[in-house]
Symmetry: C2
Subunit: 246 residues, 2 copies
Amino acid sequence: MKPSPARPRGAPAPEERIHRSIADAIADRRLPPGTRLVEEQLAELFGVSRARIRKVLLMLAQSRLVTLERNRGAMVAVPSAREAREVFHARRLIEEEIVRLLTAEGGGLAPDAAQRLRRHLDREAAALASGDRAATVRLTGEFHQLLATVSGHAVFGEILDSLIRQSSLAIAVFETPAAPSCTADEHRMIVEALERGDGDGARRLLLDHLHEIEQRLELKTLGDGAVDLRRVFAGDAAAEALAEEA
Amino acid sequence: MKPSPARPRGAPAPEERIHRSIADAIADRRLPPGTRLVEEQLAELFGVSRARIRKVLLMLAQSRLVTLERNRGAMVAVPSAREAREVFHARRLIEEEIVRLLTAEGGGLAPDAAQRLRRHLDREAAALASGDRAATVRLTGEFHQLLATVSGHAVFGEILDSLIRQSSLAIAVFETPAAPSCTADEHRMIVEALERGDGDGARRLLLDHLHEIEQRLELKTLGDGAVDLRRVFAGDAAAEALAEEA
DNA sequence: CCCACCCGGATTGTCTACAATCCCTTTCAC
DNA sequence: GTGAAAGGGATTGTAGACAATCCGGGTGGG
């Protein structure tokens, strides 16, 4: 299947740039869940007509990063707890299979794959050391995407791209305030296991890693409608958003 | 995450109807892979402006059912052999997990789930008996989607919806002419295994079923660029499309 | 005869104007 | 004071017009 959406032949259409900008802003939490995305404002900001903005918003909506409500406009999506759990579940399934693919031949990583992963780890470490939080968060997500890329399985890569972006949203909504920050060593240990061909080890590390990310989120087991009244009346803004949803 | 794209509040926008019509026509092979989809013609046919058609085509493109090429228009996607293999691989992974979910409690299917699946089997059998090939093909695909629906895992359902539609395209391109038709008993046996709580059995049957579907396709192991010259010069239209792609 | 260039038609890309919808505020009636 | 209705402003939805692009066919030159 050909890449979609439309690929420009000459100068790239601004849609791609705009799409990237908005998606990155969502991932970096500069556009938090629930943020109104007004077409006219975005059109002015990006210096294009509204039609282009609508196109980008439609694409973002299909990726579940944005919700479009007819006659009421677009906003950054607010995932429910259930959705968050399902997204992480799907991630575990897909990413485990990707790691299986990477070690399918019984050997370790191909040298170019290992190199790309190593370079990425270096970039992660540099961002962390420089205190660039947004870059750190983005690179952390991109590590998982890179696993799919080097696996060469494009369909898994596309599915995972969407899942990673959705899980970033879930993290923005549900992350507990006092959660410890992610350690950079986890990715490194996964790469090391892959390099020495330890597929089982890599899978275990990966699943633990994803499980730990998910554990940091307050995903109530009661389901979507459950409301923690203590948090509602404590004036917590995120819980207020949840109360509105319920 | 809220359902996307935009949901109408009053009368439904025609986009949903048009989207369904085109997607169904693709699934039924009334619109074969490679078919040009001209905006103006579709606009006239559906009695709407071009803007609406463009919206639908963009959505179909993001689902990989249609390819958009800038300044050249839209056409029904033509999957490569590699893509087809990856789609089936992803299907096996997702559908196996769905069946695992359905039998996760160690018991059989919930009664309402069993009922829905049984009713669907009846509809499949009726379509087959009446010789309605298009309905049979569609219902056969919907069986798999229904497994996801009754599992209650919406994210898997969405991923699978897309994969099923893409695999239909792959089947349209790669199916061997003399392939035996799918037997209706395979779905029944899967449902029976689910009903008696035989998760392992159900999974094996399902994977065998999917494997059999994939085996019917001539997916060359050489990769995307491989061209079967015999088929090219035999004047086979599908192979000609592939030659153009390579 | 072959190749390069040009033109015309078909189609896509984009923008803008106007209609439709929704929400919030104000006013009026009870 | 409360609730309902009306109005206005903000925003979205939609269509049509025009610009831009591409491809195929025809013509002219070597």
